[in-house]
Every structure is written in C-alpha cells, then in structure tokens.
C-alpha cells in the first residue's frame, strides 16, 4: 500500500469513471462492464493519522487528458426517461474548452468527483457519497480547494478518482465531462468540529450532506452549519439558527448518485481565521 507523510505532496493517476472502456463513440454505456464503474485510485495510507482525527486534503493541481466522454443512456440523469437510445459523445479538450458539439465550447473547470477515505463500518461502493466523502460530485472540489474529513481508520486510507473536465451543479444529466488525469494532493491534520465532509474554498466552507432525498440532505447540512455557527460565534442554538438562516447559500452538489448531496455554504467572513491558515498552492 502506498504511504505518504503529513504535508507530503503526492500525485495520483486516475482512469475516467468508465475505467477507459468507452474509447470511441461506437461504445455505448449499456455495453460496458459496470463492475469497473467509478473505480478510485488507492488506498493511500497517511502515516500517523488516527481514528477521530480530522484531516484536510488539499488539492494542489488537477491535470486532465485531452479528451473526455459524455455518454447518454436511457434512464441516466434526472430526465433520463426522455433518453430513448444510448449515445456516446467523445468530447475533445482544446484551447481551455471542452467541445460538447463543434459549436458548443464550454470552459474547462477540472474537478474531482470521488475523494474519500475508508468508512467507519462496512465497505461502501465508490459510487456512493457519505460521511467518508466518496462520490460527492461537487464542482467546488477543484485545485485550490480542500476537503475536510473525519478519520475512521488508522492511516485514513485515501482514494481518488472520477475526474470531470467540467460539471454543473447537481450533475443533473447524470454525467459531467468524464475524463482521465492526475491529481496532486497533500494531507494535514486539523482541528475542526464538523462531522460531515466539507469543502474549504475561496468563498467559504461548504458542508456536504448526503441523504435519500435532497430535502433531507439540505436539512442535515443546515443542522451541521447551525452547530458550527453556534460554536464559532458563541451563540445560543436559537440565535445560531436565526443567523445561519440568513447567511447560508444552499446548493445542489449532485442528485444522480445513490444518495443526493446538498451543499450548505457558510461564507468565508463567518468562518474562523484558523480554518483559512494555509491554502493549497
């Protein structure tokens, strides 16, 4: 098993979420081996990290391949019932854009779909999001951001994969621009009271809550945001509830995985300064 030290920058290569099986537009999503779907690179052991610690995984860089995949298939995404036949599009990446069609360039915004650690109990498939991180599919997990996770096992046992050249909020069509590549990461041990995964980014801290429904995911994420605000500001729960209700942004991370993930963002000016001590280079 690979092992890294705290603070050591390391690089992981990853296949795309289809494990490279969709190599041309002739290969349709229903034809591939789904046992190879959403494989993540790992585990990477982080020396000295113990259960109960919170780690901050800093994303230093994401390199992506020169083409990605957007494969439609009946049932895929929130309007999947309208897709009548499978249809694969190979999406070139040139000049800082992905080309959805020859007339439809979209600026690249590389992000990590899957980043997680070993879960507390039982194994969890890497299509699932949860308190261990996993398939969070949030567009904010990009170079310059960090993921905070509560460690459940010695060495954390990190894995990463499912890069997207670009993805909208919700991954509503069931697919981003799925792409192979590599990521440069490092891990720090930090003091942080939250229990759910959270992305620290330039604009604030986004609590990532996953549940069967988006309504329930928002509720869970908001509950944690209120608790953080109560602690950080020394407020009564009621005043934290009032304050959090007027300051948060509530967004949809993804709603196409086995659980939906909501993102409750506390703006940076409300976060403690030590949370922003070091940002990834």
């Amino acid at each position: 098993m690979a092992e890294v030290a705290l603070g050591e920058v390391f690089e992981c290569e990853t296949a795309d979420c289809y494990d490279g099986q969709i190599s041309s537009e002739a290969v349709l999503r229903p034809h591939i081996n789904m046992a190879q779907f959403n494989r993540a690179t790992g585990p990477v052991r982080v020396a000295g990290v113990q259960p109960g610690d919170t780690i901050r995984i800093d994303v230093h860089a994401i390199e992506i391949a020169d083409s990605g995949v957007m494969a439609l298939s009946p049932g895929l995404g929130v309007l999947g019932e309208r897709i009548v036949q499978a249809d694969t599009r190979i999406v070139p990446v040139t000049g800082g854009n992905v080309w959805i069609t020859p007339d439809t360039p979209v600026p690249v915004a590389p992000m990590i779909g899957v980043l997680g650690i070993a879960p507390e109990s039982e194994s969890v498939g890497s299509s699932w999001p949860g308190v261990h991180g996993g398939n969070l599919d949030t567009r904010l997990l990009r170079a310059g951001s960090s993921l905070l996770l509560r460690v459940a096992h010695d060495g954390a046992l990190l894995a990463v994969g499912d890069l997207h050249a670009v993805q909208g909020d919700g991954e509503l069509g069931g697919t981003g621009v799925e792409i192979a590549g590599s990521v440069r990461l490092s891990v720090e041990r930090v003091s942080y009271a939250g229990r759910l995964p959270a992305v620290r980014h330039a604009e604030g801290l986004s609590v990532l809550a996953s549940a069967e429904t988006l309504d329930e995911a928002v509720r869970l994420g908001f509950s944690e945001a209120v608790s953080l605000m109560q602690l950080w500001r020394g407020l009564s729960w009621e005043d934290a509830y009032r304050t959090t209700s007027v300051i948060v942004r509530s967004e949809v991370s993804q709603m196409v995985n086995p659980l939906a993930t909501a993102r409750i963002t506390i703006p940076r000016e409300w976060c403690p300064a030590d949370l922003y001590g070091e940002m990834p280079k």
Copy 2:
C-alpha cells in the same frame, strides 16, 4: 384597482409578513392572527397586457423600515422540531446591518419574498409559490433584478409583499428578517419562451420551479433550462441536455413554504443578448 402603463415606474408600500402584528418581543408568533399572514399589496393592473404575454417586472429599488422581526416558533423551519418555545426577536437595522444579536451584525441585502400575478385557475394563497410567482422567497429578487412571468389574465393583476432585509438560500430557519417597506417596480412586455417564473440578474437567468419536494422542483427547473438551451443554441434535445448539465448552477430558493422552490441558473454568457436589453436603473 390601481392601474399602471407599461414602462411606468410605480411604488408599492407593504407591511411585513405578519402585517405588523409583531410589534414587540412580547408578541409571539403563535399568538397572532395567521389570516393576516403574508398579505401582499395589490392587485395592480398593467394596462394592455393580455393572457399569453410574458411580462418582465423590473425591481428598481427596495426601501426597508428601520427594524425587522425574526420570530421563532415550534415547528418553524427545517429544524423546527428543535424549537421548544416561541421567541420573538426585534432586529434593528442600522449602519447597513441587521443586528441578530448585539454582537451579530449581518449586512442588509433587501429582497422581495412575494411577487406575483393572478394565477390561471382558482385563487392561490399568498404563502404559495407557483407558476404565477407568489411566495418564491428567493434572495436574488432584489434591486437590479427582474422577474419574468407568463400572464394568465387581462392586466396581469400584480401583487407584492413579504420583504426581507436579508434571507439566506432556502429560508431554512423558516424566517428571513421580516420587514415592512416599499418597492419601486415597472413592467415591460417581453419575448421569452420559458413557462416558469425566472429571475434575470447580473449573473444569469434563474428558472424558479416549485414542487412538493426539492428533488422534483430541481427536475422541473432543469427540464425548462434544457428546453431554453435547446431553443437558444439550436441544439438537439440530447446535446442541450449534455450542455445544460455542465453549465447550470442549482440552488435552493426556499423549502419552508407549502411547495419547495429550486433555482436553476443559466449563466449570463449562455443567455441571448436580447434578454439583457435593459436592466433596471
């Protein structure tokens, strides 16, 4: 009935959502007459507007009173089961801030909770959001923004109310800083293919979809966003689905009203130029 011409700037005064009943911290939410809740000022008839037209309601200015209300009550908001007793806070507005507590200032960001027109069939209470607009409770409906609505009745019959000095996404605590005030509006007739309410703002066009669950609201809003992109870019439905999936932002407008409202935002650079012909002064 008040009547205005297309393009005429007019001003509406509004009580807060409690119709001014909560005049001190001694008045608790369970004690007030809820038949007066969320009253809106109107109707205002817009001369020359016909069923099937789309109107753009431009928000020129929002003036707010010098104090607002945040009344908690058992069951209020997404964590309402944790509220054990009703508790009213009068929130002063000074120096560009609301003061949730004497140590917790939050910058004001005035917005309109209720803005709508007469619905197509049957009457709809002004606590409800829907295709007629209504209690959308979206923080983006502020000075400089515009609301697009499909007209169902001669003269549209507009009403406005439920101002908030500030509100977070989702209105998750069940309350913004509820406040009285006045708004300056004008109405234009525009060409727009959407069927759902949408807010035009500096960053893009946000389709506002309301449904029993947030999951369903996101689905409805995304469906309309895909249709708009198909039309605007001359794409097949499948390519519009792919493209929309990677460009939209998906946010929670509110989830504390009788229906939840999601906000699917198409960034401005993807919107047709004529949608941005004139912005409110």
